[in-house]
Amino acid sequence: MAAADLNAVRAVIEGRLATELANAPAIPIVFHNMAYEPTPNSSWIQCLVNFGSNEYLSFGGTTASDNRMVGLLLINIFSAKGVGPGANYTIGKRVRDLYNRVNVSGVYFDAATGPEVLGFPAPEGYFQTQVRVTFESIEEL
């Protein structure tokens, strides 16, 4: 076994969303540290993967041991302002169903939270909801 490849975990999480949102109706998606200029009144998604705390699971040193890695997947869903929440929630369901209690490639996703309406969208000019999913994976050293 080896130390966890965080980039591989990120790829699993982001790849799942990218594949789904490439299906019709396709929705633009932007990840951490990417420039994006949204089209006014369009729908688009921002996906942010954050790795959080690690904790000991089992005995051992740098080999023959296990850690629990916990992270947060935060997905912001933007849709046209002033036309109700329906279109946004439709996207929210697609997103939520991708992760809700799913176990894929060794990444365990917990029960999803949201889509939750945000009172102050960022950027402004959109109706914004947020889906949050904590996840964990086991690092086997």
Partner: protein, 149 residues
Amino acid sequence: MTFFRGEQGNVLFKHDSGDTLTVVTGVRSWSLTIDKESLEVTKMGDSFRDRVGGLISGSGTIEVFYEKTAAGDGKGDLIREILTTPATESTVAGAELYTFDVGSQAATSEKLTFNLLITSSEFSASVGELQVVTFNFETKGAIALTTVS
């Protein structure tokens, strides 16, 4: 003075005399309580009670994360030990609990060695948590605290 942290420990287990002590993987904790009987030897005329030690015995727990195992590996044998019937039970099922394993149980590691009887195994599964098995045991015969040389 050198102190140790829990993760520096380790557990080895053997099922019977034909087995060798094998590392149990995915161990979360172990504990061993060693008791000594206290026998009163106060004599007539003494002003204070007097005691001597009697028989020594031990009991403890080992907690592991459940995983699919096979009989014949350390963890697989430990998980199955409670199901060994008295008729086929080995008298020399044993364990080594390392207080400090320098790595691969090499020299200068410290350990407690004894034979044991698994008296209960608790398998548990909780939503959102890794599955854990807790073994309770009682020691049989001598208990030794030694440094690996």
